[in-house]
């Protein structure tokens, strides 16, 4: 799968879940792409962050990923 298609699938996945859950572990994304190397999945995610479509969210000990602007807002 090429990177653009992977990025679109990540966005689709996040939008489909947006009603119930907004933050995801990295491993939740690798499960979407069982045939891709984890390193390539990370590159796609990093690009989405660079493009400001997604953002990192920190629990304090673990960093999760979410769609930009969704879920709990900065206080």
């Amino acid at each position: 799968m090429d990177k653009e298609a992977a990025k679109q699938e990540i966005i689709n996945f996040l939008e489909s879940k947006s009603g119930s859950k907004t933050k995801f572990y990295f491993n939740d994304f690798t499960k979407l792409f069982p045939d891709m190397k984890a390193r390539d999945v990370k590159k796609a995610l990093s690009e989405l962050v660079q493009e400001e479509k997604m953002m990192y969210w920190s629990s304090g000990s673990t960093t999760l990923y979410g769609l930009k602007g969704s879920g709990k807002k900065e206080e």
Binding site: N27, T30, R39, M55, Y56, S58, S61, E75
Partner: protein, 437 residues
């Protein structure tokens, strides 16, 4: 005049040790005094409010911090740990109190100019409160507001040639002992390897992709000055595979009392004359040393690198010449549910630029752990869950007697049918018919 009364904190100052409360009070006072000189970018009374909030927590026996959130600098998933106060009206100075982790220089070598720059920057854009250093070795800057984060990051990276460290599910800031820069026991250049791997794995350091945190630490010798064996998921510990070099004349000088044992470290009290039998030979954990005709003998095959004899008689005994490192995996030191030491994975490996042999081990482990590790599971837990044999399989390292911690106690190596010439077949039902459970 302090902003908040803090009787409970004041009591902490009465003990015999230096108190962080005194330090914080001094910093609070200094900020108030210097407010006409420095254009503070966050509230002047941040440290006053920090003391007030801590006092409140002591009174109520409840924490008033909230942890985490959307804080960080653009493109990085770590390095900043968000913190907010749940009493912002009462303590506006600490409404935001984020922590920044700064990657410390290898071996923690600073010049005073650099320290001044850091301190000035942090006074200007943060609370001025630092922690030198955190457990992983980073410079910890405690307490700033969200709008300051990008400003500080810009200043650090553009003008100070400095980067943020790791936090979250990242590779954490790698840490090394002083190594060859100061120490005759260093079996490899710890600072160089630390630097090279930090540069190689920038993406892993800044962009979270792991199930949980992952730490590298580099100890130049088994004395373990950065305690890699206890605190890092992957411990790199210097060792040698030839013999300990013995200078018999110096041994005689230690025995004769001309040289002080332990470099004179125990000079504060009269311990009597140095007794090599009692203080060195009898303390050898593998009993591989003895005296023969006034000469010290060592059966190096049995040596487990406890370092005791080298530490006691540094002039007489030196590390071997064929040096490299051992790699151990799976340590963790969590506050809850107990620490775990790392287990030996690679008994010996040479350390030579471009370090491809070392990188291969690291990447094989990561590929496995990223695939199989559960969320918030450290490497040591994955190893326990799936077994050490699985780790050997994914890294392609053959099983070795040195992997066994307790003979006949932890038999983790099981033969597979394809590994045994001729294979084996057995019917478990047939076996159970003769050997009931």
């Amino acid at each position: 005049m302090p902003k908040h009364e803090t009787p409970l904190l004041d009591q902490l100052e009465s003990g015999p040790w230096p108190s962080f409360v005194s330090d914080l009070k001094r910093q609070a006072e200094s900020r108030t005094q210097k407010q006409s000189e420095i254009q503070y970018q966050i509230p002047v009374d941040v440290v006053d409010d920090l003391l007030g909030l801590l006092e409140l927590s002591y009174v109520e026996k409840e924490v008033h911090w909230k942890h985490g959130g959307i804080v960080g600098v653009f493109g990085y998933g770590g390095g900043v740990i968000g913190r907010y106060c749940d009493q912002p009206e009462k303590f506006p100075g600490v409404a935001h109190f984020h922590t920044m982790r700064i990657n410390q220089p290898a071996g923690k070598y600073y010049n005073t100019d650099f320290l001044r720059q850091i301190a000035d920057l942090w006074d200007f854009r943060g609370s001025g409160v630092t922690n030198m250093h955190g457990s992983t070795g980073d410079i910890i800057l405690l307490g700033t507001t969200t709008p300051q984060l990008e400003e500080i990051f810009f200043e650090l990276t553009h003008n100070m040639n400095q980067d943020l460290g790791g936090s979250g599910s990242n590779l954490r800031t790698p840490e090394a002992c002083l190594g060859e820069s100061r120490c005759e026991w260093a079996c490899f250049d710890t600072q160089e390897l630390c630097y090279q791997l930090t540069m190689e794995y920038q993406d892993e350091l800044h962009r979270p992709a792991f199930p949980y945190k992952f730490k590298f630490k580099f100890d130049g010798c088994p004395n373990g000055c950065v305690a890699s064996i206890a605190r890092s998921d992957l411990s790199f510990i210097g060792t040698w595979r030839d013999d300990i070099r013995i200078d018999q004349e110096a041994v005689a000088a230690y025995v004769g009392g001309e040289l002080k044992p332990n470099g004179g470290a125990h000079a504060g009290k009269d311990w009597g004359p140095f007794d090599i039998q009692k203080e060195v030979i009898d303390l050898c954990p593998t009993k591989c040393m003895w005296m023969e005709g006034g000469k010290l003998k060592i059966n190096d095959r049995e040596c487990t690198r406890c370092m005791h004899c080298l530490n006691v008689m540094p002039r007489a005994l030196r590390i071997g010449n064929d040096r490299g490192l051992s790699i151990l995996a799976g340590a963790k030191a969590p506050i809850l549910d107990g620490a775990q030491m790392s287990s030996l994975l690679v008994p010996f490996m040479k350390v030579e630029d471009p370090y491809d042999n070392i990188k291969e081990v690291i990447e094989n482990i990561w590929d496995w752990w990223m695939e199989e590790g559960k969320n918030r599971e450290r490497l040591g837990e994955t190893m326990k869950r799936q077994g050490f044999q699985k780790l050997l399989e994914v890294t392609g390292i053959p099983a070795d007697p040195r992997h066994v911690e307790h003979p006949r106690f932890t038999p983790y190596i099981f033969w597979k049918e394809e590994e045994v010439p001729g294979g084996f077949e057995r019917d478990i039902a047939d076996y159970r018919s003769r050997h009931p459970k």
